[in-house]
């Protein structure tokens, strides 16, 4: 085999490796109940912030606790050991990465989607008329 053919083969093999490695590394979007079947294992849950229940931020402990409901409308208490993100209450959807415990879901990171910031929301014109 020629040098360039060997190189090409190696490149293609590595690329296939990359493609396959994604399926091993990708996490899945799950519900709280799936996460609870595997306590301590990392999952990504997309949920909505439950505004009816209390959102408590304890600055000295750096702990934010809130309630979120997942796509199956299961509500769980979520512990986020970090500061409260700006405009947390406004978030529409929260992507939470973390693991489940018997007292609640422990989030290592959360990503919020704020309707006002990134989506082109509309004015509420009709309330005026």
């Amino acid at each position: 085999m020629k040098n360039s053919e060997i190189t090409l083969t190696v490149v293609i093999m590595i690329c296939i490796g990359i493609m396959l490695s994604l399926t091993f590394n990708a996490s899945t979007y799950v519900t709280f109940s799936t996460a609870e079947k595997n306590f301590g294992k990392q999952f990504t849950v997309i949920g909505e912030l439950n505004l009816d229940k209390e959102i408590i931020f304890e600055p000295k402990n750096n702990l934010l606790t809130f309630f979120a409901s997942d796509s199956m409308k299961n509500v769980r208490k979520v512990f986020f050991y970090n500061t409260k993100p700006q405009d947390f209450e406004r978030s529409e959807k929260i992507t939470m990465k973390g693991f489940a415990t018997d007292s609640g879901f422990i989030a290592n990171s959360i990503l919020m989607k704020c309707p006002s910031k990134y989506n082109e929301d509309q004015l509420n014109y009709n309330s005026e008329i």
């Binding site: 990359i18 990708a26 899945t28 750096n62 500061t83 405009d87 992507t95 006002s116 082109e120």
Partner: protein
């Protein structure tokens, strides 16, 4: 109907210009195509084509002016103006409104494209007709994104000149039928304003540079297409190569400016986060670099021509793919700063059209493209350059594949989420690839094309290897960077820098010209070195000692009360004050260190601030102190920005039940009820006399043994009780006590105690990071930008001589 106060004329002009622009782009493309068929048609049609192109240029300038006038004059009846601007927006940021929205950023792209198109009209007469056919076609695709018209119920494009009352969701609503709607509806007084993240000087300069980079990458693509079309399979490289370097220079600078913006004004603490938006501009850059090097190989050895075509076509396709990813809304849950959707299907159509048509042209010509089957020797420069290019392609593939998870989900119907540890995953792929690439950039310099004498090669590089081992050992010792993979990368960067300096000296003396390649290579290895050291050895100094678990980022933040000096790593920090400056709430954080005498010595002040924005939410911006060898970065992760309500200053009610002589602990005090004096009137002497008067004498003792006392009075007249509160002030800590009830059954009294709102000291939560040697990264960025720019100029000059 005539709407009062509506500036409809300018919108109509703007919309007309948008349509003219689209028509004349298409016309230019068609007539350039006809004039490229043969020379007699050329004579007839070229004038018309150029005129059409000029009309396109003027209409784009007109569109930009109309939009700017609308933003500047605050015509909030227009959706674009309302969404991206406001009365309070400073003039310097008005220009940023252009690239906050989809429509405006397309306009920016079109603007750069026509400038490049004009340049080619005047500079390359032989290839003009074909080149401009392609460019005008691209322009008409981009121009169609601004149309905002309906054809058979399908919306084509989105116009920046749409009135809010004409938006799809508002049509036929009752208020749109009122002729004075602007006057009576308060929503039209002010716009929503510019996203606070964009109100930053970096965001005035970064997007135009990035878009210029995207635009320039179109030119090598056009040359490749025209090279195939005119069957000039090798001449096109001569023209395309300088522009490829120009694109590398500008796009690279744009990407690194984005990194600088993220580092200076965003909160994630770093300049690169492998965000899909960042990735999708990095990938075209990597492909451009591969394409430039393939062109060099071809020029030297006349090999790999097919691959050169393919990769050059791919670079522009990836630019389009990148804009599809970031603008279609498909990234959704995986990125925080993607545009919202709307033009997804139109962009997808554009992308697929470009992919299919360029590959058809490529495949039709495939058998005619010279395919030199000569085998490259393993000791040749071209062989190792090719290995480097392959590594770059693998790197680009990995980034693209992992960034495309939402696309993969859509195509295959899967529901994969991005990996949890995505940053580590990218690093674990990219760091080994970076080692190979960096090493090859250095080691290939002293290889010859065709074949290299191993002995003389070793002579050339030997001293540099020894020297760079020493340098990297010293650096690693200094930084404690002993992770084996990181150390190898550090060594590779040192070696490549040294080898390129050596090579630069060698070629600068042998030829009378100033080569850019070595500068760019040195720049690249310094960027990698700076990125490695500042990231691998970044030190979060605000570590909170309240340890819960190593995985919880909780311990990365420090809690600071106003006026208190707190130890933070080797520093002492003081949250001194805060003040409101315009829309920014600025915090003054002073850094001290302890000298040998044990006294605090003032070092510097950092001013992280919070941009207050009621509509879009507050944005915290970090502040960084730059030193030559390291940066101290401080960022507020939390701060209370609401003003306290002074009209009702006492809160936190607690109820205390106790009897004479009892003591309890309240807040930080021992609380005593010393005595209760009771006056009861049995005889009614006058109407004004009280029935019962009780005085409770209370005393508070703090930890220093200081006592504070006050009297609480409880009075009853005609069965109505009234209470007179007592106050205590311990060095500004204020409390209020109310004698609220007599508990006759247990023989005691009930007191309600309140704390003053100012007893809670204002606090902030801050994250502070030391980034060592980050200046290496910036120095490398500048060198890379300059080096590639020099290559562009040199090649342009050489092209003239040829």
């Amino acid at each position: 109907m005539n709407y009062i106060g509506e500036h409809s004329l300018i919108g109509e002009i703007g919309h007309l210009l948008v349509c003219i622009n689209f028509v004349f782009c298409t016309l230019a493309s068609i007539s350039f195509f006809i004039s490229s068929i043969n020379s007699s048609l050329y004579q007839k049609w070229i004038k018309l084509s150029r005129i059409s192109f000029f009309i396109h240029v003027f209409s784009v300038l007109g569109i930009i002016s109309c939009l700017f006038i609308m933003i500047k004059s605050h015509y909030f009846e227009y959706q674009y103006v309302w969404q991206h601007s406001s009365l309070k927006l400073p003039t310097k940021y008005m220009i940023s409104c252009f690239w906050e929205g989809q429509e405006g950023s397309f306009l920016l792209w079109i603007f750069w494209n026509f400038i490049l198109g004009l340049f080619l009209i005047f500079k390359n007469k032989d290839w003009e007709a074909q080149l401009l056919t392609v460019i005008s076609l691209i322009q008409s695709f981009l121009g169609s994104m601004l149309l905002g018209i309906y054809i058979f119920n399908i919306k084509i494009g989105s116009s920046p000149f749409t009135l809010i009352r004409n938006l799809e969701e508002n049509i036929n609503l009752p208020w749109t039928k009122l002729d004075n709607y602007i006057e009576i509806m308060p929503q039209f007084i002010d716009g929503r304003g510019l996203n606070p993240l964009l109100q930053n000087y970096w965001m005035v300069i970064h997007p135009p540079i990035l878009f210029l980079g995207f635009s320039i990458s179109m030119i090598p693509f056009c040359y490749a297409i025209v090279g195939l079309w005119k069957k000039k399979y090798s001449q096109w490289i001569k023209f395309a190569l300088p522009w490829t370097y120009f694109a590398i220079s500008i796009l690279g600078t744009g990407i690194l400016m984005g990194g600088a913006w993220a580092y200076e004004s965003l909160s994630f603490g770093g300049f690169w986060a492998w965000d899909p938006v960042e990735n999708s501009s990095l990938v075209p850059w990597i492909i451009l670099v591969s394409s430039a090097h393939l062109m060099h190989i071809y020029r030297a050895k006349k090999i790999k021509l097919r691959l050169t075509f393919l990769i050059t076509l791919l670079s522009f396709i990836l630019v389009l793919y990148s804009s599809y990813l970031t603008r279609s809304g498909i990234l959704g849950d995986t990125s925080v700063h993607a545009f919202a959707g709307g033009l997804g299907s139109q962009l997808l159509f554009f992308l697929i059209f470009v992919i299919i048509s360029s590959f058809i042209i490529f495949l039709l010509n495939l058998k005619y493209i010279p395919n030199n089957k000569k085998e490259e020797h393993y000791s040749s420069r071209e062989f190792w350059m090719f290995i480097g290019i392959s590594t770059l392609l693998i790197s680009a593939f990995q980034i693209t594949w992992f960034t495309s998870i939402p696309v993969i989900n859509k195509v295959f119907g899967t529901s994969m989420a991005p990996p949890i540890e995505i940053i580590n995953l990218y690093n674990s792929w990219q760091i080994p690839l970076a080692i190979i690439i960096v090493l090859l950039i250095g080691l290939t310099q002293f290889l010859n094309y065709t074949k290299t004498n191993f002995k003389s090669y070793l002579n050339n590089i030997f001293s540099s290897i020894i020297f760079s081992i020493i340098v990297s050992l010293v650096m690693a010792l200094n930084l404690k960077l002993w992770h084996p993979i990181y150390f190898i990368l550090l060594f590779s960067c040192c070696l490549t820098t040294l080898l390129n300096i050596k090579y630069w000296k060698k070629i600068i003396t042998s030829k009378f010209y100033f080569p850019g390649s070595s500068i760019a290579h040195i720049g690249f290895s310094l960027v990698i070195m700076g990125a490695l050291v500042s990231n691998a050895k970044k030190n979060i100094i605000s570590n909170n000692k309240d340890y819960i678990h190593k995985d919880f980022p909780q311990n990365e933040n420090i809690y600071l009360e106003k006026g208190d000096t707190t130890k933070m790593d080797k520093y002492y920090v003081l949250y001194k004050s805060d003040s409101l400056e315009g829309i920014n709430k600025k915090y003054e954080i002073e850094y001290f260190n302890k000298n040998k005498m044990g006294q605090l010595e003032y070092l510097f002040t950092l001013n992280p601030f919070i941009q207050l924005n009621n509509i879009m939410g507050n944005v915290a911006e970090p502040s960084t102190k730059h030193f030559l060898l390291y940066d101290v970065y401080s960022h507020l992760t939390f701060a209370e920005t609401d003003e306290k309500d002074e009209s009702n200053p006492y809160h936190h009610e607690s109820i205390i039940n106790l009897n004479t002589g009892d003591s309890i602990i309240y807040d930080k005090y021992f609380f005593y009820l010393d005595s209760l004096l009771v006056h009861a009137n049995t005889k009614i002497e006058s109407d004004k006399a009280l029935d019962v008067l009780i005085i409770a004498k209370i005393r508070l003792k703090n930890i220093y043994g200081e006592t504070f006392s006050t009297d609480l009075i409880y009075a009853v007249k005609d069965n109505v009780a009234q209470s007179f509160p007592g106050f205590i002030d311990d060095n500004g800590l204020k409390y209020k006590f109310i004698f609220s009830n007599v508990e006759s059954e247990i023989g005691g009294i009930q007191i309600k105690a309140y704390e003053h709102i100012l007893n809670d000291k204002p606090f902030i939560i801050m994250k502070a990071i030391i980034f060592p040697y980050i200046n290496i990264l910036w120095l490398g960025s500048i060198l890379m930008g300059i080096g590639t720019l020099i290559s562009f100029i040199n090649l342009l000059k050489k092209q003239k001589i040829d």
